[in-house]
């Protein structure tokens, strides 16, 4: 049970890191995610069942997510459409595209075919499959996290970090803010699609409705993570997101498990998620209103 929650959380964390990039770093609330998550699932499923192979399939899933994010950013940049609307437009169009990718069906199973997940389980031999999977997902999500941290230490990554905070500064330094938005939203949705691709293999099917409401779930995970500790180091921030994602999955598990006693059904979980986000917003707001220790000169602490 615990292993299951952890694996779930680690797959989910890839998506949450994407949401973190747009909502927190870029300050570009991007709703493309609800569509690109299923895109990743659909692309990897069709790649595997179509014989393209697992790793090309995963790469393709990442790239299609990135392409979806690029479309959103370009709509926003070129047509001066608010970012929320640009995301909704792409998300809506993706729904049709995802069904096309799935060959006109709403879902496609990944049964009796080799997936990354089934291969890993085979590799584990006599080790219990949940343990093997958990170890694998720790390595997988951990590597992506480290790569992301590395990226945010490059000149480009640092500049992306300044974007959501102070776009004028980025412009003043001779960087095209539109390019940065394409990069950021693209990268974000690439991660989201990768997450969808992993989930499809884990649960054994892709579904066109897989991503409905997922952006709010990702946001909930990001916000839960932010309550855990404070830091201004990117490595810590991405770690927060992973912990937040696991925590979210655990909460939802208990919601499902024990909610039964108070008549909660699985369809109530979206309501719970929304309430969780609202509660987080309320808590974050009341924290912000509290006077913080004014640290002026000489204080050596990181906020």
């Amino acid at each position: 049970m615990v292993e299951g929650i952890l694996v779930d959380g680690l797959i989910f964390a890839l998506m949450a890191m994407g949401v973190f990039i747009t909502f927190r770093i870029l300050d570009f609330p991007d709703l493309t995610v609800d569509g690109s998550f299923a895109t990743g699932a659909a692309v990897v499923t069709m790649s595997i069942t179509g014989g393209l192979g697992i790793f090309p399939g995963l790469l393709l899933a990442f790239l299609s997510g990135a392409a979806a994010g690029t479309v959103t950013a370009v709509i926003h940049n070129r047509l001066k459409v608010p970012n929320l609307l640009a995301g909704i437009l792409t998300m809506t169009m993706l729904y049709s595209i995802n069904i096309r990718v799935l060959g006109g069906r709403a879902n496609v199973a990944l049964l009796r075919v080799d997936t990354l997940i089934s291969r890993v389980i085979n590799l584990g031999g006599s080790v219990p499959r949940e343990i093997t999977l958990l170890l694998f997902m720790i390595i997988f999500t951990g590597s992506i996290k480290l790569l992301l941290d590395l990226f945010f230490h490059t000149d480009m990554g640092i500049t992306l970090g300044a974007m959501g905070n102070n776009e004028q500064m980025v412009i003043s330094q001779g960087v095209n803010p539109r390019t940065m938005k394409v990069l950021g939203v693209g990268l974000s949705n690439g991660l989201v699609a990768l997450s969808g691709a992993m989930l499809a293999q884990y649960q054994g099917f892709a579904d066109a409705n897989l991503g409905v409401g997922i952006v709010v779930q990702g946001l909930a995970a990001v916000m839960l993570g932010e309550f855990l500790f404070r830091s201004n180091k990117i490595g810590m921030l991405t770690l927060q997101v992973i912990f937040g994602a696991i925590l979210y999955k655990a909460l939802m598990f208990f919601g499902r498990y024990y909610g039964y006693y108070i008549n909660l059904t699985p369809s109530d979980l979206k309501l719970l998620t929304g309430l969780l986000v609202i509660a987080s917003l309320v808590i974050a707001k009341s924290r912000k209103n509290k006077p913080v220790n004014s640290s002026k000169r000489g204080g050596g602490t990181n906020a």
């Binding site: 590395l150 990226f151 640092i158 300044a162 001779g174 201004n232 204080g299 990181n302």
Partner: protein, 264 residues
């Protein structure tokens, strides 16, 4: 070096809110000029800098930087020539990033690649650059800029801008939001950097004394026009009284007091 030719800037043309902020303005900024700009509220000073930096495009007229017509060149491309500091100290730095990250973004202008250039050597350079500010910032490279005071932040912005060696430095009342003591410090740094690095600069101020004391050239603006342009010896001999008198001569406008006119 920078030439404005018959620039006109009309906001919201064809609507009830139509507003001509700059009226058929021509001027040349020569290399090495340090120009102070004064004028009452709404005279068009900020709009003039916006036109030069490219954050707005002129309705009519041309702007050339080193002979090249940049009238339609986006702001981020002109930024490699131009360093700009705003009145709001939060505009020049990213508060959620550390000092070193901020300085790294500003170290070299233009597109940022996938290189990791923030290393020990870079940090050393940053520390040495921060020392002359005498604000103790050299030991706070890892602190978020949001923790700094307004004065510290504006001094940092000034330093970072200067380190990127802009061809033209634009200062828009960059000390107006600071308390008098910090304003004096930042102003002194401005004076020091401009002469040390031999920068070409334009500085908007509402302080006539500063406008007279600093720089080699003074522009007075009103109603979107440059109504007075003095330099050299003539500028050296200016006093606040002479300047106010000049304004009345030129515009023969009546104001309640002279203080209302230019100083705020």
């Amino acid at each position: 070096m920078i030439k404005l030719e018959n620039m006109t800037m009309v906001f919201n043309p064809g609507t009830v809110n139509e507003n001509t902020a700059i009226r058929n303005l021509s001027m040349t900024v020569n290399k090495g000029d340090f120009i102070t700009v004064i004028g009452s509220n709404g005279a068009g000073k900020t709009t003039l800098l916006n036109l030069i930096s490219g954050s707005v495009f002129p309705t009519e007229g041309k702007i050339r930087i080193q002979e090249k017509d940049v009238s339609r060149t986006p702001e981020y491309q002109r930024a490699s020539f131009i360093g700009r500091i705003f009145q709001d100290p939060t505009m020049g730095t990213a508060g959620k990033l550390s000092l070193e990250d901020n300085m790294n973004i500003c170290y070299k202008k233009g597109f940022k690649g996938l290189k990791i250039s923030l290393n020990a050597k870079r940090r050393k350079i940053f520390q040495q650059a921060l020392e002359p500010l005498k604000m103790g910032l050299e030991s706070r490279l890892k602190d978020n800029v949001g923790l700094l005071s307004g004065g510290q932040r504006q001094a940092l912005t000034l330093l970072m801008t200067v380190l990127s060696h802009p061809e033209l430095l634009l200062l828009d009342e960059h000390t107006a939001a600071l308390d008098p003591r910090n304003a004096e410090i930042v102003l002194e740094l401005t004076r020091q950097f401009i002469s040390e690095y031999q920068l070409t600069a334009m500085m908007i101020t509402h302080n006539m004394k500063h406008a007279i004391e600093m720089g080699n050239r003074l522009l007075m603006m009103d109603g979107g026009e440059i109504i007075f342009d003095v330099r050299g010896e003539e500028k050296q001999n200016l006093t606040v009284e002479k300047l106010v008198k000049k304004f009345h001569e030129l515009r023969s406008k009546e104001f309640a007091t002279d203080e209302d006119l230019l100083a705020r």
